[in-house]
């Protein structure tokens, strides 16, 4: 068996078992929690629905309402979260994560999806607008992620929609049309950072709609890669965090200890410097050195907020429509 605290089972992405993320917890209890891993939120959802039991899970923005609806999540007692008030309100107060006045989600890590490009192969004027993705000039050298949310974030931004929580059918059609054009240009839909990095390093792809991670790791290794978030249309942000699972078999105290450990400023420092992602503890982020943040593509949250499409949850109907459209587009329709 995986050696860990038997009273707290965390259902997480692999890699997040990194002990630096929850140092306080380990110090307090003498042992790390027990981890179970997943590779895809949908699969995780199916597994939980089928009856898999754990205490904490690590979903990202879009999934949370669905998980709530399915009765998988339990409400959070905010009084037991020491840093609750210091959390970035843009994430903390998203309506969809609340029900009956209680939140069901503690935001923890966040990142951008933004225009990322090869500075040797593209000039700054090439990447001024997100419309570049649909420009036939770049045919075959472009990549976006194989994710409905990222794809429609791009499409809505490019068609002038900044908030997708209340989109009309016409707006959706316009976005889908844009994606159809992008589809013609694409080399591939990337499904993992490694894959994208591979394509960008070889020069196969020079323009991508990508997460911070790609820019962070590649520029750190000295590759001519830049991330441009202040395009004419802006860029997009997403957030992941911890939720308390309903019918959790383990210790509630340890759940809060674990989340608190995650929210500690030392964790914020670590995730920014070592992983290149943002942390939801706005106070801790503010204290950080601006250059350090800039080096990994994260400037202050104020700057970032302007022109950003927040990947807040949409209504199930809209989301189903987007999914259906996106699959059609991918199939070439």
């Amino acid at each position: 068996a995986y050696s860990g605290d038997a009273e707290l089972i965390v259902f997480d992405w692999a890699g997040y078992e990194d002990p630096e993320f929850y140092v306080d917890f380990t110090e307090k209890h003498g042992d790390a929690p027990t981890f179970a891993f997943f590779s895809d939120e949908e699969e995780a959802f199916q597994k939980l629905r089928a009856g898999f039991k754990a205490d904490a899970a690590h979903p990202c923005s879009q999934s949370v309402p669905k998980w709530m609806e399915a009765g998988l999540l339990a409400p959070i007692d905010t009084s037991r979260i020491t840093e609750w008030d210091n959390l970035e309100p843009g994430f903390r107060d998203i309506k969809a994560y609340w029900k009956d006045g209680k939140p069901y989600f503690v935001p923890v890590d966040w990142g951008n999806t933004a225009m990322t490009y090869n500075t040797e192969l593209l000039k700054p004027e090439d990447v001024q607008s997100l419309k570049a993705f649909a420009d036939p000039k770049h045919a075959g050298r472009v990549s976006i992620g194989d994710s409905v949310d990222d794809a429609y974030a791009l499409a809505f931004l490019a068609t002038g929609v900044n908030d997708w929580t209340n989109v009309t059918d016409a707006q959706i059609d316009a976005a889908s049309d844009f994606l159809r054009q992008v589809h013609q240009n694409l080399r591939a839909y990337w499904s993992s950072g490694s894959e994208l990095a591979q394509m960008m390093q070889s020069g196969e792809v020079y323009l991508a709609w990508a997460w911070n991670e790609t820019f962070a790791t590649m520029s750190a290794e000295g590759h001519p890669i830049a991330m441009k978030r202040d395009t004419d249309e802006g860029s997009s942000s997403w957030v992941c965090g911890y939720s308390k699972l309903a019918d959790a078999p383990g210790s509630e105290d340890k759940f809060y200890d674990f989340v608190n450990a995650w929210l500690a400023p030392r964790t914020a420092d670590y995730i920014v410097s070592a992983w290149g992602y943002g942390h939801s503890n706005a106070k801790a982020m503010d204290k950080m050195n601006v250059e350090d943040l800039a080096a990994v593509g994260l400037e202050t949250s104020d700057n970032l907020r302007a022109g950003t499409l927040w990947q807040a949850p949409t209504s199930p109907e809209v989301r189903e429509r987007l999914i259906a459209d996106f699959e059609k587009i991918k199939a070439g329709f």
Binding site: A14, K47, F52, Q198, T217, E221
Partner: protein, 257 residues
């Protein structure tokens, strides 16, 4: 053969490349990934779990395959075709469906998830392969061998142990090889049916989102490969030695499928 090994020969190259990105040009030489590998406890657990699952799966499904193949080869029973069709069904069904259904069944039975539930799932998909391989081994077996043993006073079980099993050994070996290979690389069923103990493929796949550890997995693959080669050389060495000791030509003792 070149085609079969094409990806594998690159494995060591990237295991020693200092970049986390798996692409040419190479960055520089490093053994850092082996160090990372050494210190990532979750990975060690995953390897151990995977070995446990694959070896158990290979053994269990080969044993089941043995019984099924023998039954098919020796007896005719009613609905034989129907039953065999049912056993072969997992070959046709998408794995994800098998995985979800199995999980629901297991939970309803009140079983807790563990590596053994993964083994159960893997056995389900590996047994058809095992049956396919073993029934051809049984078809080549002279039925009078078993009768001879029986005639000499052996019981059914004794006959199986002393005669049948050694004679279908080549089939057993290839069945073990195939089921081991399938189980070692399977992750959908492994993902759904595992509890907190992950197998290597599940770990690797869930790592994809933040793939900083990919090179150390390359390093792991390199080590596995090197171990296999060493084992092969050792096995060959011992086989030759024992063959010459028995005064036989090394080539005549060759077991075959």
């Amino acid at each position: 053969m070149v085609f079969l090994y094409a990806p594998v020969v690159l494995l060591p190259i990237f295991a020693f490349n200092s970049s986390t990105i798996i692409a040419f040009p190479l960055n520089g030489f490093t053994t850092e990934w082996f160090g990372v590998l050494w210190t990532t406890e979750a990975l060690h657990n995953a390897v151990r779990n995977s070995m446990l699952v694959s070896v158990s799966t290979a053994i269990i499904s080969t044993v089941l395959g043995l019984f099924a193949a023998r039954a098919v080869a020796r007896y005719t029973f009613p609905f034989q075709r129907g039953i065999m069709g049912l056993v072969m069904l997992p070959l046709v069904l998408p794995e994800i469906i098998i995985a979800v259904s199995l999980l629901i069944v297991l939970i309803q039975l009140g079983l807790s998830l563990s590596l053994w539930t993964v083994v159960l799932g893997h056995v389900l998909i590996c047994t058809p392969f095992s049956i396919a391989v073993l029934s051809s081994a049984f078809r080549g077996l002279d039925p009078s061998m078993e009768e001879a043993s029986f005639d000499l006073g052996e019981t059914h079980w004794g006959t199986f142990r002393r005669v049948t099993f050694p004679l279908v050994m080549p089939g057993v070996i290839s069945s073990l090889l195939i089921t081991f290979t399938i189980s070692l690389d399977e992750f959908i069923i492994a993902f759904f049916l595992t509890g907190t103990e992950v197998t290597l493929p599940v770990y690797i796949w869930s790592q994809l989102r933040f793939p900083a550890k990919l090179p150390s997995i390359m390093a792991l693959g390199t080590i596995l490969l090197a171990l296999t080669v060493v084992l092969l050389i050792l096995a060959e060495f011992f086989r030759r030695r024992s063959a010459t000791r028995r005064g036989l030509d090394a080539s005549t003792t060759e077991g075959l499928i």
